[in-house]
Structures are given as C-alpha cells and as structure tokens.
Symmetry: C2
Subunit: 99 residues, 2 copies
C-alpha cells in the first residue's frame, strides 16, 4: 500500500465534504447522533468492519458525537485503504439514519 500524493488526497476530499485533514496525515470527521446509544451502535458496526480490514481508526465518543480519525500511520500517512474505509463509514452512518 502506497502513500497518496497531496493531489490525490485533495481529489478524494472533493467527494468527502465532511472529512478534514489533521496534522497532514490524518483524516477526521465528527458524526452527530440524536441519542447516545445510537452513536454506540455506529461504533459497533464500524469496529466490526475495522477488524475485518485489520485497520482501526481512532474513535472518540463524547456523548452524542463520535469522532473518527484514520491514517495508515505505520507508513506515515494516507492510503487508498483509508479512503475506501472512510466511504464505508459514511455509508454506515447513512444506513443507520435511514431507519
């Protein structure tokens, strides 16, 4: 897995408007929920997926806000895997808010 170029990251971010770059090597998004346990349900879903991928974002649960922060930190920055997983996190959030 190779590091993405800055251009590739900027291109990917065009489709990921809620995500922002932090410290040049992380992508971060805050997900807001109406209920505390809905946020916990989201964490369960994304954690199962992260474990399948053997790639684990940092998860911060502050009441009804769940922040995800992801990077391929072992190689020092962002890769296609991070972008692929971010799209799946967004989809999980959308699916949950349909119900």
């Amino acid at each position: 897995m190779e590091l993405l170029s800055n251009d590739a990251i900027q291109e990917a971010l065009k489709e990921l408007p809620n995500w922002e770059i932090v410290d040049k090597k992380w992508l971060e998004r805050k997900f807001k929920f109406n209920h505390y346990l809905s946020g916990i349900d989201f964490v369960n879903e994304l954690a199962k997926y992260a474990e399948e991928k053997i790639h684990h974002p940092v998860i911060i649960i502050d009441h009804t806000t769940v922040t995800l922060r992801i990077s391929s930190i072992e190689i020092g920055g962002l890769t296609d895997l991070d972008v692929e997983m971010i799209k799946h996190f967004n989809q999980l959030f959308k699916n949950q808010n349909k119900n």
Copy 2:
C-alpha cells in the same frame, strides 16, 4: 451533587491507583485489552451503564487501548458520582478479564 474537595479526591485516588487527574477536573484511565473487539465489548458495557446514570465519560478507542475520562463538567469538576462510576468501570474491566 457537590464538587469534591482536593483532599477528598486524593483520598478517593488511594483506592484507584490506575486513575490520574488531568487538567485538575478530569479523572482518566487507560484500559488495555488483548483483542480489539474485547475493548469494544467493554465500551458496550460501560456505555449502557453511563446511559442509565445519564452521565457519560469521554471514551477514546485507539486499537486495543480504551481510555476513559470522566468529570461532572457541567459543574466544573469531580463529584461522588464520578468516583462511584469509576469504581464500576474498574469492576466491569475485572469481570471481563475473569472470563
């Protein structure tokens, strides 16, 4: 619910050796797990309890380390409720590691 005095906090900490004061108003502990999903199980248990108590610690999941940070931030510091909940978090962790 009243703020605990510094003396009362120090007294409580004698029984809570793994917890430390952060920024004068939070108590924090890192819990380490052998498996990522064991940490997630712990988060589920403590989140149910936090919701019952209507008092929610900040939870940070960084691979197999789960950090809890608690305060009665709405009144600016630590109370008996924080200490009561910390003891329960410790117990949940112990119970999980018995199995």
